[in-house]
């Protein structure tokens, strides 16, 4: 799941691969509020996971989001 999230951040949001690290917040990766909404949309389309606006908060780290998505995908 983490790999898939990394790929989405790179391919859909143009975040350079070498900048994507678990401890970075979405905001630090240049994901603004509009991009965060879009990320939620892509996660739903590709992984069938519904995440709320709060869960894709730009202050969340990649790790926090990956944990949420993993938990929901397994539920």
């Amino acid at each position: 799941m983490r790999t898939e999230l990394f790929r989405i951040l790179h391919e859909s949001f143009d975040v350079p691969s070498d900048e994507i690290r678990s401890e970075k917040t979405l905001d630090e990766l240049g994901i603004d509020s509009v991009a965060a909404l879009e990320l939620s949309e892509i996660l739903h389309e590709r992984l069938g996971v519904s995440v709320s606006e709060d869960e894709v908060s730009t202050q969340n780290t990649v790790e926090q989001l990956a944990t949420i998505v993993t938990k929901k995908a397994g539920a």
Binding site: H10, E11, S12, F13, D14, V34, L37, E38, E41
Partner: protein
Amino acid sequence: MPENGPASITGIGLVTPAGIGRSSNWATVCSGRSTTTPLDILADAPVGFASTVPSTFDIDRFTGRHLSRQYDRSTQFALVAAQAALNDAELTPTVRSDARIAVVIGTAFGGIHTFEDNHTRFHTTGPTAVTTRFLPKGLVNMVSGILSIELRATGPNLVTSTACASGATALGVGLDLLRADSADIVIAGGTDASVTPLLVAGFHKLRALSRSQHRLRQASRPFDRDHDGFVLAEGAGILTLERGSDAAQRGARTYAKLAGYGATADAHHITAPHPEGRGAKEAIHAACRDAGIAPGDIEHVNAHATSTPTGDSIEAAVLAEMTPNAVVTSTKGVTGHTMGAAGAIEAAYTALALSSQTIPPVAHLEQPCAAARALDLVTGAPRTGTFETALSNSFGFGGHNAVLAFTRT
């Protein structure tokens, strides 16, 4: 720069059916080769052919980034063309770091692909299927906004929309911004990703499109007696404009000078030009006056001529009366009609004609229509000679007329 002084055209970026890049465009336009092809996406449309940007166009490959999902196709064309123009002008980030950079982009349809896609989603699946990026991708102003972000251009930033004159209007407004000292560098041009089944259906209803399916490679034949409508096309043309003194100071190459701009409205009809070309004549007068050139001294005209019987004939009569000494071409025989991009793409071709002293032919012109017989049209092969002055005409639905005047460097 004097109040009405010319601007130096220092960079040209082109993404058109005639090629991606300045050199490939010029080679194709001078060859007179058709770019019209049948298209699968138009299989159910009333006209099944158009001229599209080569399928090798891939913004992700050009930029090394993942932008194809983020930006509408029209913005992708403009961004690649703008970056190409800046590279061509050697306006590196360092050179332009202290400059006030304006962006003025003409477009008739803005993010039409994004609108169509989201409209389909809305009607097939419902409002939840509308994408988050629908409006940031689709709004008509976003192309200039996105260019400002991508190119760090923080000066005046706007979109002009005068239908098929939009790209020429953008360059005219860009010239005015330099003259008003509102910017040091202007990135100006036009873009439209207008080849969609919906637009084909709309233009077909207006009887504006060629229906020459049986000889579609010759379907776009401006000024020909068998012209029967235009071939829908897409693309972008972006130019960099600078004050002559600034260009000279940094040793920049100048293709030609943009010396004048004339804009008028027919105030006559929603789609048809004024039968005597009233607004077109006034725009030619205004552009020539602005450039300090008498219309009779114009030596080359890149005509708007889209290959429609009415439009071609009226423009031909206007040119025969006003610019009797001009060598005339219409490059739409090769490119088709790129809508809001056309005026900018043709401004680039006009600048290239002056810099190379070569005028491309009107592709597929065999026998001129009655009104065009009085014109000195380039047919067959390109014409070489000495050309010091030129006009590029652009006209749009709504009665918009935009004429640009150029002088040789």
